[in-house]
Structures are given as C-alpha cells and as structure tokens.
Symmetry: C2
Subunit: 188 residues, 2 copies
C-alpha cells in the first residue's frame, strides 16, 4: 500500500535521511512510503522545477493515501506546497492524514509571530486581517479536510524538543493509515 | 459557468464588499462567481467551522474553475486555506487560475521577511531550511499546478498601491477563464 510522504522535510539539511527514517517506519507497519526526493534529477535538467512537479504529481496519483507534515513552516500555517498536495489528494478521494509537531491553536501561533487583538469579539492580526478562532491548529480547510477525508490531525500534547526530527506523531499517522487501509481492503 | 473565488479576501475588514466587486467583474465577462461568504451562517451554528468547510467544498464541487488570490498572506507564501482549495480543484480536474499582487520571486519574498544566505550555491533561510530558487513566485507545486491545470500565474509588473483591493490581476484571470471555458464548451 503506497503512502505519499508530504512535508517541508525536503527543505531540511538532512532531507534524505529523514525520508529514509519515514520510509523505515512505514515498512514496519506494512506500508510503502513514497518520498519526493526518491525522484532523482540532474541539476542540469531543463525545466527542473516542472519535472519535479510532474514527478510529485505522478507519485500522488499512484498512492492510496497522504501523510502530510503540517508543522508551521515560514509562518503560522503549514508549508504551502504540502497544503497544495493535501488538497490534491482530498480532491482525488484519497485517504488524508496529517500531523503537526506544534500543538498551539492557530490564533496563538499568529500571536507568537506578531500582535493579535480582539475587536468586537473578533480577533485581528497586526495587518487588521481577521484571525479564525475555532480552536483549530490551522486554517479550517486544512483541519476539516483531515476530519472528513481521513483522520483528525495528530498533534503531540507538548511540542517535542526537535520539531523537525521527532517522528512520534508521524508514526501515529502511519499506524492510523495502516489500520484504515487494511479495513478498506477487507472483504465485506 | 460557475467560478469558485478563493482567497484570503474573506479575512479582510471589507470582505463582503470585495466579494461583490469580484462577482460584478465575473458577471461582466458572462461568468458567475461563487464566493465563500455567500454561505450565510448563524454565529450560534453548532460545529460552525465544519459547516463552513462543507459549504466551501460543495461550492468547489459545483464550480467549473477556481480563481485563487495567491498574494502572500501571513508569510512569504499564499494563504494556506486558498492553497488547499487550489489543490482540491486541481485534483478534481477543474480549470485552475490564480493571481498574485506581489510580483517578487519566492526567495526575495523570504528575504523581505528574514535573512536568506547562499551556501555552496544553495539558498537557505534563517532557520537553515533550503529556499527553492527556480524564479517562481511561490512553492513550485503552486506555480506549476497553474501551468499544467489551467493558466500561468497572473502577476502585475509592479505591486499595486493596494495589494488587497486592486483587482486588475483578478480581472485578467476572469478574462482567461471566460475564454477557456467558452472554448471548452464549443462543439469540436
């Protein structure tokens, strides 16, 4: 059973090693993790970024599920490329799972990066833009996509010491995916 | 022909007025804009955020195309909810269009919000995470989703004075959508 491993992990200095660790965890649970960096490209490839896109899309189309690392990246929300991929998989009716190593609700994540003020019972950021306040970890489209197209977002009780290398929440997603995908295959 | 109007516009203080302006532009080009705030909810609705998700998803499923406002929001990338919706529509094979009122390439957007340094020919942000440097406006999944599932990202030559209220790039998308959707309907 193929699982697409989405996340900003690919931008970390040890991106390849993290992919191998994630794939080893998948294998222990009887699943095969597809990691974007498995697609090797020559740096001289013409239209390299387009080829990377095509290869990632082909991996997603092959996979039965996505596990997205939705830990905030360069702002209070998840990595934009990862969120695109979550949407793509939801749109195609695939099983959607995700984890976030930052357990703070969205307004507190924004407050940690700038001022959040209440006006007439509504929260606003420093630019005067409304801040969603539903007790969710990120934009409601992300949180509820997981609820309705897969499994609820997995977050730790407390942020781990190393946000980018702690894979406990990832492994919880793998366990959920293994159970759900086996159920889906069982004869009725 | 129904077009889903995605964007962080819904978080602006004059969100309803912007939606009306966008819908008027669509109507002038023979299209019908579906705007998330058209779904009215009582603030006391149980599970309000889930109902908003369901209503947005139903709108997307009805629409033939999406026009996403991909102007950077709370960071160097587009709004996470909008990007999820772009992915969802691409996954369902709908026509994907988007615009961005900030014409800077992605590394310069990141540099505007913190340090970007080159090491061994690769750009890194202040956290040591690799910065994509393909001359694109945002994460490559977003930019190339538009190239391959619709029309290339529309950006102005120069950022308009008012990033959030200037609708020239939006109108360019509406024009492209009108042409493409009429072509798709024409007998072959």
């Amino acid at each position: 059973m193929l699982i697409y491993l989405a996340g900003p992990d690919v931008f970390l200095p040890d991106a390849i090693e993290i992919g191998r660790r994630k794939q080893a965890i998948c294998a222990r649970h009887g699943l095969t993790g597809l990691y974007p960096l498995d697609n090797a490209f020559d740096a001289a490839t013409p239209e390299l970024s387009l080829e990377i896109f095509r290869a990632n899309e082909a991996m997603m189309i092959k996979a039965s599920a996505i596990i997205a690392n939705l830990t905030p990246f360069r702002g209070p929300s998840a990595d934009a490329g990862t969120v695109y991929e979550l949407g793509f998989m939801a749109g195609r009716g695939k099983l959607c799972l995700g984890y976030c190593n930052d357990p703070l609700p969205y307004p507190r994540r924004i407050a940690a990066r700038g001022e959040v003020t209440a006006r007439d019972g509504v929260l606003h950021d420093a630019h005067g833009h409304v801040v969603e306040d539903f007790g969710l970890a990120d934009n409601l489209m992300i949180a509820h996509a997981l609820d309705l197209h897969g499994c609820a977002l997995v977050t730790p009780q407390q942020a781990p010491d190393d946000l980018w290398h702690d894979l406990a929440a990832f492994e919880a997603c793998v366990r959920l995916a293994a159970t759900r995908l086996v159920q889906a295959q069982a004869p009725r």
